[in-house]
Symmetry: C2
Subunit: 283 residues, 2 copies
């Protein structure tokens, strides 16, 4: 099962047999006051810097989200996509809950994008899947619907199956659907991460599609978030996620070691190369 | 499924519903020249220090192994058990491939010990299981037999099932058998950790018994072993291991976060307590 996305010049292949693909999460104003302020002024310099720093840190796809109170996403999202394309050639993940903004961004994007996201709500399926089909994009499906986010793994898997089937009915092949089983904070619900892990495992077994996860939410509200995120990332990669949306600065090392442990790094070549680069960086 | 082991004064319960039990690995002369030298001179001061430091670092059970070239384990293992009992009350895991040494140590141990280990070889089953029965001990079963360590998960699970059944035939309840699915170095075989992870998952699903794992072997021969061990520990705890044999200094934080993520830490109480202790320690 291979999901291929690309820019003008670079292709990224997401597959259970290949190394983990890191989708950089940082171009997102949620909780980032300075980024939100610069976006409100249509200043894209910070977006460009975040794009470059994440690629340097090991992201091979970048998520681009400009959603914030008072922002006109239909105008701003294509501007941000354009700005990122000016400084890097990595493929992009176009992230908005606003279908008009998604379409405006898809119109300027050069390549095959990843759309973030559709979910199991009828309104979402009917608005977003035709866009994915029309622009030849891959799409992330969130395992939630009109009733919210299910608390049990089985219902999340059922929503994932529904999204995959509906995508196919629009002529979008299942390899172009990435499922996101949704990570919620264990600070708010002690069973939250366990439910996500079980859903991931079942999606891998029952649907076999590739998976992403906005993994950092798991530690929201708790101290030393980076430590929690690292342990959770190890678990979700072992369970079947292969293109997590994370901060590459913290996640890259865990992903490289996970690939080593999950049989995706023959002779430990990638691990040893990474270790040497790190060691040289410290000299 | 609860495995209970105890010393004169302390009981430890190993169960999928309870926090991870850390079995300290460090009283073991393999690769430790100074410990090997002091054991050769029957000097137990280093054994006592390793016992105390591991309990301070969060071990709630200690593995005691004195096996080295030229060492008389039948004499030395009970001496080491005695020395550890003098300085700490945590329950012990008596570790030897020599059945006579196991028996000599069981004779001096006060409480219900964990024997490390029996395996699927006929000779091992016939020598070790009667000892576990006679001394009322719990026992670790290694998933290997006369043909060596199987390279496929299914055969490891079959050996685990055989050990559990044979133990029951000796009157040892299955809750007193801990399975060790065996971790081998990913430096030598890129599929090694994947096979172990799959075996662990299947033992949890098919046998439901508690599991240990000598987890640190996975990184043998590779640089930055601690980083690899941490990611692997997160994965094996999610897969079902609940009493790993590890270095508590490095493993404790991962285990506490794993418990938080696996729904075994309501309101994040243990995690927050640990975080505060760490922060105070840094002041």
């Amino acid at each position: 099962m291979e999901t291929r996305i690309y820019s003008n010049t670079q292709e990224v292949i997401i597959s259970p047999d290949r190394p983990t693909v890191i989708i950089g999460e940082r171009i997102n104003p949620t909780g980032k006051k300075r980024l939100a302020a610069s976006l409100a002024e249509k200043d894209m310099s910070r977006v460009r810097r975040l794009a470059l720093s994440q690629v340097k840190d090991g992201a091979t796809v970048l998520d681009v989200n400009v959603g914030a109170a008072g922002v006109n996403e239909v105008e701003l999202l294509p501007m941000a996509i354009q700005a990122v394309m000016e400084v890097t050639d990595v493929p992009l993940c176009i992230d908005s809950a606003n279908a008009a903004a998604l379409e405006a961004a898809l119109q300027v994007y050069k390549g095959k994008a990843l759309i973030n996201s559709v979910n199991g709500e009828e309104a979402s399926l009917e608005r977003v899947l035709p866009l994915a089909k029309e622009y030849g994009a891959a799409v992330i499906g969130l395992t939630m619907d009109d009733s919210g986010i299910p608390q049990d793994p089985a219902t999340r898997v059922a929503i994932a199956a529904k999204i995959v089937e509906r995508a196919e009915s629009y002529g979008i092949p299942r390899e172009d659907v990435l499922i996101d089983c949704l990570a919620l904070s264990v600070g708010a619900d002690s069973q939250a991460a366990k439910v996500t892990l079980e859903a991931i495992q079942r999606v891998r077994e029952e649907l076999g599609v590739n998976m992403t996860l906005g993994a950092s939410n798991v530690s929201f509200g708790l101290p030393d978030r980076e430590a929690i995120n690292s342990v959770f990332l190890a678990m979700v990669l072992a369970a079947g996620v292969n293109a997590p949306i994370v901060n590459p600065k913290h996640a890259r090392k865990v992903a490289i070691i996970a690939d080593l442990l999950l049989g995706r790094d023959e002779f430990a070549m990638n691990y040893i190369t990474f270790y040497r680069q790190q060691s040289q960086g410290r000299d």
